[in-house]
Amino acid sequence: MAIAETTLPALSRQQIARYAGAVRDFNPIHVDEEFAKASGMPSAIAHGPLTLARALDAVVAQIGAERIRGFDARLKAPYFPGQTLTVAPVEGGVELRDGSGTVLATVALTLAD
């Protein structure tokens, strides 16, 4: 698998808000700072599917959308606005890390031949 390591720009709060509107997911932990803090988070967090969509986008940029058959992700840590996203190749897929090096998710990729 020839996925090269890529680092995406920092995630903005506007991106989180736009994604919330697009998928109609207004879970307050993504859009309400006080609710997020009451839930034990230091700030609002990105939607898990948004984090994964950014990683998917990094893969699409390299091999196109048509070849991707499976994208099986385990989320390990929350992704906060202001953090970059590094998509790095690992055995069988990719690993997602934020700007501090925290592993956010591991993804098993299945590609068409």
């Binding site: 998917l56 699409v60 940029a61």
Partner: protein
Amino acid sequence: MKEGLKGTTLFEVQRTIDEQKLEELATALDSATAAQTATLVPFFGPTIPGEALFVDLLGIDLTRALLAGISYSFARPFRVGESVNVKVSVEDFYEKSGMQFVVILTEATGTDGEAIHSHKATFIERGAA
């Protein structure tokens, strides 16, 4: 979280893959390939028609819930203008280490029954403090 929902269909809806929705997703992704990626990213699933319904159906306490993983399967990207049937069901429900896990299966098929996309989302509800 409500128990005893394993195997049940939570809801089934028809959605059109319209250009505006794909643009909304692409804008959120904000990249050179976002328009292409938007044809893979589902805008439906456990959040349709709004996460409140999904939360109510499952009885999820948002202050104790988190998404543990998602597994996407793509037969092909979505096509602008096509209609898809979206079925959301509870594939599994179990308890482990004092936490409840629910696996929600979302299947998108064409009007002719063609499988286009599916994804499984695993949600965890932590035990009350």
